[in-house]
Amino acid sequence: MKTRTWILIFAALLLVCLAAWFFLPKLLQTGSEVGIYQDGELLKTVDLSKVTATTTMTVSGSAGDNVIEISPGSICVRSAGCPDQTCVKHGPLKAGGTPIICLPNKLVIRWMQQAETEYDAMTGTEAAS
């Protein structure tokens, strides 16, 4: 084989590897899959990029029902049976933002692939008393 062919193969390989190195972690971070957990158990995963119509899902617990609204590209808790309404006030799940948590019903809605954040932990989230 000619030297020029080898150089071309190396250059192509190098490009593919460099591209994978730069873009793969970013692709993994910005996933669109969301997990709905109750008491640590995964109830359902939803790929928000594949949602075409708005639907709701109801999760029941000791504090009544949480109605989760799943719409194209977005997920939030529409209503909750507890007096706190912390999960409703949280609003939609933001990219790289804090998970939606309902303490009384032990419900957690979070990204399956957590985006790389600037910090290791955040204070004050869902502190009880």
Partner: protein
């Protein structure tokens, strides 16, 4: 030809290494579970991480059962119900610490505020604004000076009730770190309902970055603190509250008035290597307000540092940690 093949192989190996190096992080173990009426997130690094985290979860659940006022069989619930006057050595030691923090903060943190918090519905979730006369009556039973601990014997007047919720999570994070260390873990960070506590440094030897939650938008933060081997605990009225007739009532009560503390502080963060102290102090600083908090820090600057946000969104940070903190808000450094 053989030489060229050799060079090719070396190149191929180098490229493979280049592709693989982004996945070369230290082994990470995580766990999320509900306890103490909140959500716990534990993260530990290294080969002992998974075993350490399992042990830490067991320890936190043990403390929940021992200390929770919501559990009728807990030592604290039995004390409050008048069913016993003696407790385990562990609970007695923690009660003494609660009384010490109450004394240090001149009652801004008070471990006997339970009947009031309960009357406002902050334990049951059935929120209500009690009548002024009801608060007046309940206040007569509030006061840490009414409680004394002698060995494992606890004495307090009938009607006075204890609750270690204000320091319980701090004690739990201290114990969780101890258990993780016993399991051989040297790098871990735990969040017990937003109380952050770090064991050692990050696996690469650098400091942890802890975000301080923004009271105006809890999905984001107003500052970043670099720290290691310390806990960072924030108290704020935005964390649990209810609205009635257009007025907001939050869960941190002023033990002197019986009403939600309104000192002009939106968020009070304490940074210290003593988790129990930090937990009690963050509540106390929120109650006492800026001037008293500054005075308390000047007397105890060897014990803790603090980051306060006032209602005009101005940030005050003590000089012990001001070099490790970044914020885009107007920030004033408090000096000794």
């Amino acid at each position: 030809m053989a030489k060229r093949t050799g060079i090719t192989l070396i190149f191929a190996a180098l490229l493979l290494l280049l592709c693989g190096c982004s996945g070369g992080e230290s082994q990470k173990s995580t766990d999320e579970f509900f306890a103490m009426d909140t959500v716990m997130d534990l993260t530990a690094y290294g080969k002992n991480g998974a075993a350490g985290i399992t042990a830490a979860e067991t320890e936190i659940n043990r403390l929940d059962a021992l200390l929770s006022v919501g559990n009728a069989d807990s030592e604290i619930a039995r004390l409050d119900a008048g069913q016993t006057t003696t407790v385990s050595e562990e609970t007695a030691a923690l009660l003494k610490r609660a009384l010490a923090v109450s004394k240090m903060t001149d009652g801004a943190y008070d471990c006997t505020v339970y009947p009031l918090v309960s009357a406002w519905g902050f334990f049951s979730g059935d929120y209500r604004v009690p009548e002024a006369s009801e608060i007046e009556t309940l206040l007569q039973n509030v006061g840490w000076e009414k409680v004394s601990v002698d060995g494992t014997a606890v004495s307090m007047p009938a009607g006075t009730q204890l609750d270690l919720g204000g320091i319980g999570k701090g004690y739990a994070s201290a114990q969780a770190k101890k258990v993780l260390q016993d399991a051989g873990v040297t790098s871990a960070i735990v969040s017990l309902g937003g109380n952050i506590s770090a064991l050692g440094h990050k696996p690469d030897g650098s400091n942890w970055t802890v975000a301080i939650q923004d009271p105006a938008d809890t999905s984001t933060y107003f500052g970043l603190l670099e720290t290691a081997d310390k806990c960072v605990i924030t108290s704020g009225g935005y964390q649990r509250y209810f609205e009635q007739d257009g007025k907001t009532y939050w869960h941190i009560l002023d033990p002197e008035t019986g009403y939600p503390a309104d000192s002009g502080i939106l968020s009070a963060t304490v940074v210290s290597s003593d988790d129990v102290l930090s937990d009690g102090l963050s509540t106390a600083l929120f109650v006492m307000g800026l001037d008293k908090a500054e005075a308390l820090w000047r007397e105890n600057s060897d014990l803790f540092d603090m980051i306060l946000m006032t209602s005009d969104r101005k940030v005050y940070i003590t000089s012990g940690i001001s070099d490790d903190f970044t914020t885009e808000l107007d920030c004033e450094v408090v000096r000794p």
